[in-house]
Symmetry: C2
Subunit: 469 residues, 2 copies
């Protein structure tokens, strides 16, 4: 059963399993205790810290273990910002950071009492591949910037960020840079003079329950929240030593084979990137085709409901994820796809775990076209033939009421209606589904029509499209 959602959680690496089992008998003890069992537990913890620090490229005393990558990010932001309170309370981050960074940034912004203005922040935009421009990021740094945050690579589309250049710019500006390395740490250390780094073990095949936070010497840091003596006072709570040992051992194991495995998976991802648009009509493959994670590829399918497609693929035995609005609890498309300005409907993220075979990927390419076709048929989406049909012409006034209809229905109705629009004339789609704002312009770009713009409406918005082709 091919599981293609490694970017969400990677299957437990055999070395992680083995290390976890081997340390269960000694790892439950309090490593702060002076007796024999405590000293042994401390040795396990110290050895794990050394191994993890080596993989990160920092000193062991710069690295602490947290209970998750999310908590590593939350504590990193809170501790770094608090330590630089006198400098200012401005935060810079890219528009495509992981939700843990965005939530920490929102909490920073909301913080402060009546006499305290709270934090401010600048979100640096990305291009259509999901990448920030290093110069643009550098230009957002201000004298009152307390912290900058940039992921090493994007978790939804795989695009690598220019971390070394941005880290250099931050160093020059005297601003600490926090790198969220959750998606890339398995493949290699993060280059450049970053100040803080966060990661998550279950992304590299380590067990759940372990994140790591590195704070390089010379970086000011004031842990927030109640005091606790453990992990250099940076992470409260009893250490989960068996999981920590397993996390460190598996990171080392994954790294040992990283170069070869990356090259192999890169080949498989290239195959997906090339073949999917050939096999499935009306697909947009997103993310940088070259500067990207080796194991991750994302594409979106016009006229497709993401959740239904996930179920179809699940029935065929493939586990993937989606940034479509229908798969989100808030019914909005992923903030990453929005920031990139790309199609969000029928979105599929394929992230291959270590060891994925050629046959797995080939079978995925076999079943995908049928799965997409079935979803389109269920939705009554236009096929090439259908689109050529003379659909019932829209009423004079050329307004298509798609209010109350969820993604991808507004785009499907637009596609059916467009043939009834005289060449050079416009049609206005009324829609109140958030995905329409992203997907109607994306559809225009894919189909060669002109997207004129959006105007406010009594409910939702009107999206104006001019028929060109």
């Amino acid at each position: 059963m091919p599981y293609f959602d490694a970017a969400s959680a990677a299957p437990l690496h055999p070395v992680a399993r083995e290390a976890l089992l081997a340390s269960l008998d000694e790892g439950w003890v309090d490593p702060a205790r002076l007796y024999r069992e405590g000293r042994r537990a401390r040795l396990l913890l110290d050895a794990a810290r050394e191994a993890a620090a080596e993989a990160v490229g920092c000193r062991p005393d710069e690295l602490v273990f947290t209970p998750s990558g999310t908590q590593a990010v939350h504590r990193a932001v809170a501790g770094a910002v608090a330590a630089r309170r006198r400098t200012g309370r401005h935060l810079v981050h890219s528009a495509v950071e992981h939700s843990s960074v965005l939530h920490a940034a929102e909490a920073h912004e909301a913080a402060g009492g009546s006499a305290d203005p709270g934090g401010t922040r600048t979100e640096v935009a990305v291009d259509r591949t999901g990448r920030v421009a290093a110069e643009e990021f550098a230009a957002a740094l201000r004298p009152d910037t307390a912290l900058a945050c940039l992921q090493s690579a994007n978790h939804e589309v795989g695009t690598e960020q220019p971390v070394p250049e941005v880290a250099e710019a931050c160093r020059e500006a005297g601003v600490p840079l926090l790198v969220d390395a959750a998606q890339s740490l398995a493949w290699g250390p993060v280059e450049g003079p970053w100040s803080l780094l966060a990661a998550s073990a279950h992304k590299w095949g380590g067990p759940p329950g372990v994140g790591l936070l590195a704070v390089r010497k010379g970086t000011r840091f004031s842990p927030q929240g109640p005091a606790d003596e453990r992990e250099s006072g940076r992470v409260p709570g009893f250490e989960n030593i068996p999981a920590i040992v397993a996390a460190a051992a598996s990171l080392r194991a994954v790294r040992a084979g990283a170069a070869d495995e990356a090259a192999r998976l890169r080949g498989l991802v290239d195959r997906v990137r090339t073949r999917v648009p050939e096999l499935v009509p009306d697909v947009e493959v997103v993310g940088d085709p070259v500067r990207r994670l080796p194991h991750l590829v994302t594409f979106s399918c016009l006229y497709v409901d993401g959740e239904t497609l996930l179920h179809e693929l699940d029935r065929e035995g493939f586990s993937v994820s989606s940034g479509s609005s229908c798969t989100s609890s808030t019914l909005t498309p992923s903030h990453v796809l929005r920031a990139m300005g790309v199609l969000s409907e029928g979105n599929v993220r394929v992230s291959l775990p270590v060891g994925t075979t050629d046959a797995d990927v080939d079978r995925f390419l076999e079943v995908l076209p049928g799965a997409v076709r079935r979803v389109r048929e269920q939705l009554g989406a236009p096929t090439d033939a259908l689109e050529a049909d003379a659909s019932p012409a829209p009423e004079p006034g050329l307004v298509l009421d798609a209010l109350g209809k969820r993604c991808p229905l507004p785009v499907i109705e637009l596609a059916k209606a467009i043939d009834g629009v005289p060449l050079g004339s416009t049609i206005t789609v009324l829609a109140d589904d958030e995905a329409a704002r992203l997907d109607i312009p994306a559809w225009c770009a894919m189909r060669g029509h002109e997207y004129v713009g959006e105007h406010a409406a009594e409910r939702g918005a009107g999206y104006v499209v001019r028929r060109v082709g």
Copy 2:
């Protein structure tokens, strides 16, 4: 090798180990995902929540899992206090709470900006057994009390607190009560109308990495810190499902045998309570002799250095802990022993894990007297014979300079000097070790001398003792 520090961390229960292994293959997946593996992980998590809630005595939707008991307490205090900000910012807790509660209370007190007065708190004193009086606790509740905190049983001396009575008083006052049930949850649910409850799996033989937090319906609660969707928005970060499953399974297993095992361990603890003072001279057994945890007993040995005694016992194969000042990084005696006003030097906490045998306890009783004797000899402590000796009389003025000397030396020197003090006269011990404040009065009580009081000195303090016997 008998490990007698279960109150710090209990050995991993076989059921915990088994459940952990059984859920490793499915428990690494994101339970929020819609595909098959995600749904299976969600089922594991839901089942664990049901089992844990049943053991706690709450509804499954009232219970969330945290990465540690410490984080359960920290989040409980922060969330409960924030939700009642309009009522007031006053906190009530006992003087003998676990450090996680005290640290959360300190953070609450320190919070607030220039226009914000921060929190206030009332620490409710305990008697010499370590117990609060329910009426006294109730009297500390005020109209602006946001939260009250009381442990179910003390982690250092085992004394049970009157939680049902206090919970009733809190209910009447409309104040939520947070119960830290870390030490008692293995033995049974906490009775009474408490509002919040925190516990830690590694205290009952579950794995490290799991705490639990129950917030009963109707209790106002505002999670603090960055938002996150997991665990009802109360605990950010990816769930550690294998550990959670192991925690729930082992809690159920421990509870199944709890009544019998508690009775058996209670007998072993009674044996320690009775025999230690018979076998070792100058020992004070502390904590309530009846209303106490079944598996925990604490005693202190006059003229003994706690750290050295721990090492002696470790050499004999026994792992115990100590609240003596010499075993603390701050060189102060445990806040619990201080609040009780009992002897702190040579402090030993014995907490028996499930399955401890009679033979283990008997061997402990065999080796303890020799270990204490060796430590006393190393320190040149007075033995019965030595004490009877005419020690060199102190200089006229009867001041004993023990400045710069660490516990237990000031008490040892006092014991040697007392014979040179005329009956009815006083001697003043100058000492700057924090433990002296506790241990000199305790020594007087044990020896039948009168403790007159303490006065300030240029360095440290002067402790005045009148020779009576």
